[in-house]
């Protein structure tokens, strides 16, 4: 037993935290990671489906940006994902793990559809849009307000609570879908107000999604400014870093938690409004399409930096669009596209480890024998 202690082996690899890596270096590491991911993807493409990786990559690119129409679809998807990521971000900066984005979006969409169906022929279109907008934000906000109050007042775990709120939202929407189904017995709501287009967000020229993109640009800039330069944004950062410090300088932690979650849920509701009114014109239980969860990844990947989030959501949307394109053009299983996407994301997340830590390999083994 004692023998073991006399010759302590140096571990093969030791980790140490890097002092700050400068920007140029860290970005070149990230670029290298993407390159490495493409190489690994290429090998997999050749081995598994025996195709030229460059064909696949160019098809993916064309799938996302090949035509004006495709560019608009990509931009719309990018905008929606970005919007939801941005909605979650203030909560995350406060270390409030809001996993309820999906439900908050859905409830916003529900409120929007509700107004379209019941008020579609009663209000002029401008006012209707405004009512829908307000209703979506309020309902989304309430959906986040509930877990926030429980967290602030009684210290409940917000991850479980927000997650469960998703299921409540899904079941509620499922109920209303049966109630509103068109035609009866189809199990779908169908396009709402197809004839009158009441409550549809107008198209600008031929660029059908310009308004959606425009709204998201405004929210993105607004959120960036809010988090970085406003008093509220500062309070959020302090509460996220240390609640004791916040209390010490007189910030009311409960108030900040509740206020921020209303904002977070409200923007999710706003996203629900954009989806129903600006894009889908109908409601389904899968309307958020997992973006409430993908948004979490985007927000983390960008380390809660709003500007970096644009790049992250672009990457994810681009990969998604590309993946479905190669599925159709080459008759490949859609899952294959997801494999390629997964590998790229794995490399991008993985490189952060090497940016934060330095590896020291054991020197030659000669020293040990001595």
């Amino acid at each position: 037993m004692k023998e073991k202690h006399k010759h302590i082996k140096e571990p093969l690899v030791k980790l140490s935290r890097r002092a700050d890596l400068d920007r140029k270096h860290s970005w070149s590491y990230r670029a290298l990671a993407i390159l490495a991911a493409l190489v690994v993807d290429g090998i997999i493409i050749m081995l598994v489906v025996h195709m030229n990786p460059f064909d696949i990559y160019s098809t993916m690119f064309m799938g996302a940006f090949g035509t004006t129409r495709k560019i608009w679809v990509t931009l719309k998807e990018l905008s929606l994902l970005l919007l939801i990521s941005i909605a979650l971000t203030p909560a995350y900066r406060m270390k409030f793990w809001n996993l309820g984005g999906e439900g908050q979006v859905l409830m916003g969409a529900w409120a929007t559809a509700f107004c379209m169906i019941y008020l579609g022929d009663k209000l002029p279109s401008g006012l209707l849009l405004l009512v829908m907008f307000v209703a979506a934000i309020v309902v989304g906000g309430i959906w986040a307000f509930i877990p926030a109050v429980f967290k602030a007042k009684w210290g409940t775990n917000e991850t479980l609570f927000t997650l469960m709120m998703n299921y409540v939202a899904i079941q509620m929407v499922a109920y209303f879908i049966i109630k509103w189904e068109m035609p009866k017995g189809s199990g779908h709501v169908g396009i709402i107000n197809q004839a009158t287009q009441a409550g549809w967000l107008p198209y600008l020229g031929s660029n059908s999604y310009a308004l959606v993109v425009g709204f998201v640009v405004i929210v993105t800039i607004g959120m960036h400014v809010y988090l970085k330069y406003s008093k509220h944004g500062y309070e959020i950062s302090v509460v996220g870093e240390s609640q004791r410090t916040a209390t010490y300088v007189g910030i009311s932690v409960d108030k900040v938690i509740i206020r921020t979650l209303i904002l977070s849920g409200g923007i999710c509701g706003f996203a629900g409004w954009l989806i129903v009114s600006g894009s889908d014109h109908t409601i389904t239980t899968t309307l958020a399409g997992g973006m409430g969860f993908t948004g979490i990844m985007v927000s983390w990947l960008a380390q809660f930096n709003v500007i970096v989030m644009i790049l992250c959501s672009l990457l994810i949307v681009f990969m998604g669009q590309g993946a479905s394109e190669i599925a159709t053009s080459f008759g490949l299983n859609e899952a294959f596209g997801d494999i390629l996407t997964g590998i790229i994301i794995f490399f991008i997340i993985g490189v952060e480890f090497f940016i934060n830590y330095k590896l020291h390999f054991r020197k030659s083994s000669g020293k040990e024998e001595a």
Partner: protein, 538 residues
């Protein structure tokens, strides 16, 4: 020092040194621990007791020196290594899994067969429990346990793993007198079974009551050892606090002293509902430094936080602030930080936990300057220019060494972190400046920078409160010293005429009752034990 011939050395430390940054936590410590003894490791806060023992337990590795176990040199790099040498340590903060039972925690991490035979294990553990006379339900979950029961589990865990040498870090700090007595009972039982016990402590009475031998550390240095039967409270105090050290702090006589904050009958409960402060009455005066002395956890934190509006007080308490200009008196209790600020009262507070409370570690100097002022001015945006200027100013004036004013402050050294915090607080132009352990962990130069700042503030007519642990500094720096003991004021003395020894005695004034209580409890308990034993035999 003569030691009996039949003593066998269990552990020897030779020239053990450990540094953290620029701080020498242990400097060339050489000492022996004998088999089958109860050794007290005595020293003030920050004297390096825990660090030294952590090196035996495999938490830290020494920077220099050697450790011998049973005469052979040992390299202890992990708690597992320590167990291989049959050394086990019970830390101040328990390391137990809350949702597991006592037995599950005890076997956690041990090698065993694939299938857990719970019955056999329970029987096995119960044997250990009975041998030393522990009182514990092995099936009880940790979250249902009192602090003392948790401690018992920790001790059994270490024993069950076959530790011959047990180190306990301030084991009585969290116990009631009765629980303390029970603990001492099992410790003596362990000694009778040939185990070696080291207890880390700064409570003199316990040392005298329990141990065979005392080893004393002071400021990281090994001072010496003494047989307990030859020791007295005063001889131990002298070893612990040392001879008078010349510090040469420039202390001016207070001028124009006025009452500033009158604290009366202040009683506060801690989160367990126990009195952290008990009927505390004193006055903070403008133009004076009021020192607060006491062993760790005597109520210092609660006292400062109550004045700062961060701690609730019990009915009957009062903290009156007297405005200097018009002599208006304002009740501070029941008001929070913002209320106090809005009344125009400028209270500066340098808390003990610098990065967890006083500052935001991930923000730079500029962001941290904003903490106190972000809400000033109209509009929804924070100001940019003022905090930046303030950060630059503090960086120059206090010579903060940082790459730039946006570098997160957690990356700065302890001394620089403290300069940022103190700099910000005095920039508030405070009327009252409260500091908790303002120089803990700082090197001599930075410490003097801080002392000078406090003296300057005093000369400006600020009421300064200095909570400290180094008695030399308290005596040299302050004008008056309030001594806290177990939440009560054991006296307020003139710093110019008092001595360290007097302060030391006052710091443990009420612990006297504590021992008396233990003795009574001991008598009662012995009776009960006998009864229980009679019953068992019957």
């Amino acid at each position: 020092m003569s030691s009996p011939e039949n003593r066998e050395v269990a552990i020897s430390l030779r020239n053990v040194t450990k540094t953290f940054g620029s701080i020498k936590a242990n400097n060339n410590v050489s000492m022996d621990i004998y088999k089958g003894e109860i050794l007290s490791l005595l020293g003030e806060n920050g004297s390096g007791k825990t660090t030294l023992m952590n090196m035996l337990a495999g938490i830290y590795a020494p920077d220099g020196g050697q450790i011998f176990v049973n005469g052979e040199e040992a390299v202890i790099r992990s708690p597992q290594d320590a167990f291989d040498y049959q050394i086990g340590m019970i830390h101040q903060h328990f390391k137990l899994v809350d949702v597991f039972s006592a037995a599950e925690n005890i076997i956690l991490g041990m090698q065993g067969k694939l299938k857990l035979d719970k019955k056999a294990i329970l029987k096995d553990i119960q044997e250990t429990v009975d041998r030393y006379g522990f009182e514990i339900d092995l099936n009880k979950k940790i979250y249902e346990m009192s602090v003392s029961e948790k401690q018992t589990v920790e001790i059994i865990k270490v024993l069950y793993r076959g530790a011959q040498i047990l180190i306990l870090d301030e084991p009585t700090a969290v116990l009631t007198p009765q629980e303390t007595e029970k603990l001492f009972f099992v410790l003596r039982a362990m000694k009778d079974h040939g185990r070696t016990i080291v207890i880390i402590t700064h409570k003199l009475q316990e040392v005298l009551e329990l141990s065979d031998r005392v080893a004393v550390l002071r400021k990281g240095e090994y001072i010496g050892e003494i047989e307990t039967k030859e020791a007295t409270e005063s001889s131990l105090t002298e070893m612990m606090v040392g001879k008078k050290v010349e510090l040469n702090i420039d202390r001016t006589d207070p001028v124009d002293v006025k009452d500033l904050v009158r604290v009366e009958h202040l009683t506060c409960l801690n989160k367990y509902g126990i009195k952290a402060l008990d009927d505390v009455t004193f006055t903070i005066r403008a133009g004076e430094i009021l020192g607060i002395a006491g062993i760790a956890g005597a109520g210092q934190k609660e006292l400062l936080e109550a004045i700062a509006g961060l701690q609730k007080a019990e009915p009957g308490s009062s903290i009156m602030y007297r405005a200097i200009d018009n002599n208006d008196e304002i009740q501070l209790l029941g008001k929070d930080v913002n209320d106090i600020k809005n009344l125009g009262i400028s209270l500066a507070f340098v808390p003990e936990d610098r990065l967890g409370m006083g500052l935001v570690g991930n923000m730079g100097m500029v962001g941290n300057m904003l903490l106190r002022s972000y809400n000033e001015g109209r509009g929804i945006f924070t100001r940019e220019k003022e905090p930046r200027q303030l950060a630059e100013e503090i960086k120059d004036r206090l010579e903060v060494s940082t790459p730039n004013i946006y570098t997160p402050v957690r990356k700065l050294s302890g001394g620089n972190v403290q300069k940022v915090l103190v700099g910000r607080e005095i920039s508030l132009a405070p009327r009252v400046l409260m500091t908790a352990y303002a120089v803990r962990g700082l090197d001599i130069n930075t410490s003097y920078t801080i002392y000078n700042i406090l003296s300057e503030e005093k000369q400006k007519g600020v009421g300064v409160v200095y909570v400290g642990e180094d008695l030399d500094v308290l005596v040299e720096l302050c004008d008056r010293i309030l001594v806290l003991c177990e939440g009560k004021v054991s006296g307020i003395v003139d710093a110019r005429t008092t001595t360290k020894e007097e302060l030391g005695v006052m710091m443990t004034k009420y612990s006297g009752d504590h021992i008396a209580k233990i003795n009574v409890a001991k008598l009662l308990e012995n009776d009960e034990d006998e009864e229980a034993e009679n019953e068992r035999e019957a």
